[in-house]
């Protein structure tokens, strides 16, 4: 009787997205921590949140934004709740943008990803950009971080699109 209360299709989609998220975190924290480009590490978790918001709607984007944000804040010692607050907003706004302005194609996705990555990089380096003598260095690092994250963001597009297509097929 209680099993009928659970929406197993949505649960299946959530598990698939969670697996993609885990792979992203593994790649980000374990592989890319040993790799840097001109001394800068990529940070592409916001791209996953954008993908979920884009393909499954703003509510899904917000929820996965909270989950991703919590784990990002755990991984980045200098942040307290920066990503817990910003990533749900990123996910929600991505869903809204796709509902009203953009299509779900690769170019739109990369454009929204670039904007999201730029916002997150600026939030991370906010103190250095506006309240220190290191503004130019911080700006350079922020732009490099976005630039080196975009190729990894492109890898997330297809898996999330397939998950979303499978869910629409079920409906």
């Amino acid at each position: 009787m209680y099993f009928s209360l659970i929406n197993f299709e949505k649960l299946r989609i959530a598990v698939k997205y969670a697996i993609v998220l885990l792979v992203c975190f593994f790649l980000q924290n374990q592989v890319l921590s040993h790799v840097s480009f001109f001394g800068v590490h990529p940070m592409f978790i916001p791209a996953f949140v954008v993908a979920v918001g884009m393909f499954s709607g703003s509510v899904w984007g917000g929820v996965f934004g909270i989950v991703s944000g919590i784990f990002c804040d755990i991984g980045f010692a200098e942040n307290l709740v920066l990503f817990t607050i910003s990533l749900p907003i990123v996910g929600f706004v991505s869903g809204l943008l796709v509902d009203w302005f953009f299509n779900r194609r690769m170019f739109s996705y990369m454009f929204i990803c670039a904007a999201a990555l730029l916002v997150c990089a600026f939030l991370q380096g906010f103190d250095f950009l506006f309240f220190s003598d290191s503004s130019l260095t911080a700006l350079k690092i922020a732009l490099l971080q976005v630039m080196f994250s975009l190729p990894f963001a492109a890898l997330i597009y297809l898996p999330c699109k397939k998950i979303s297509a499978a869910s629409r097929g079920m409906q």
């Binding site: 593994f26 980000q28 924290n29 374990q30 592989v31 890319l32 921590s33 040993h34 001394g39 800068v40 590490h41 940070m43 509510v59 917000g62 929820v63 909270i66 944000g69 919590i70 784990f71 804040d73 755990i74 991984g75 980045f76 010692a77 200098e78 307290l80 709740v81 817990t84 607050i85 749900p88 991370q124 380096g125 250095f128 220190s132 003598d133 290191s134 260095t137 911080a138 690092i141 490099l144 971080q145």
Partner: protein, 281 residues
Amino acid sequence: MKKLMTRKWAIWLGIAIVLIVAIVAITASSLNGRAGVVSDATGSVASPVRSAVNAAVDWLEGVYGYIYKYDQLLAENTELRRQLTEAQEELSSATQAEEENARLRELLNLSEKHSDFEYESAKITEWTISNWASTFTISKGEASGIEVGDCVITESGELCGQVIELGTSWATVRTIIDVDISIGVLVGEGGSAALCIGDYNLMQSGCAKLTYATFGTQLVEGSTIYTSGSGENFPAGLIIGTIAEVRTEAGGQSTYGVITPTCEFSSLSQVFVVKEFIVVE
């Protein structure tokens, strides 16, 4: 329609409640450096994964080094043998000086100058992926008696960081080039007091900033920087680095030093956490 609106509001209310609870949980637990339940659980689950990845990376680096760096290793080995011979000669004269020192202390009835450290060795399991801080994670935590604020040194006694976050079986260490570091130091032979702080520009090049030196202190390139022992977190006498360059502040009123750490972060794999220390001057 009414049911749909109620359901949507319920979803948003649920999301808002989860968000507030998450923020409060993370904030409350992070204020004293002790990792919260979620952070601790995540760190504990991720620890074996980090260890496995590090073991694989070390093996790959070993294979790469054996294949492509053999000649370099041979030259390095010859140089190290030469340095070892010099060090043994210095040790011999140091032993004589130590014996003379002991005789003189006994003559003058002075207690022996010594530093007693209680160490906990740990391996570095993960370097931060952040471009805005310089931290790493080690394989030991609260269960090994480590506390927030404990200093971290290399096997040669060089200071490399300070514990800032603690889990049950892991800890996060802020390096001495991180922007939030602040250490009381002594400069060179004269032992003038100053402060070693982090600077974002200098952090990109692996350096720290020496500033707030005592009035009249002359900063000289090549001077060695030691911890002063002030603040009770860092024992006195630990080597931090040397002054690589002396620069003028933006206002042109004062100078500051660029400290190159003695510890080589790129080759660091094992560190020692100083849990307790007694320094007798």
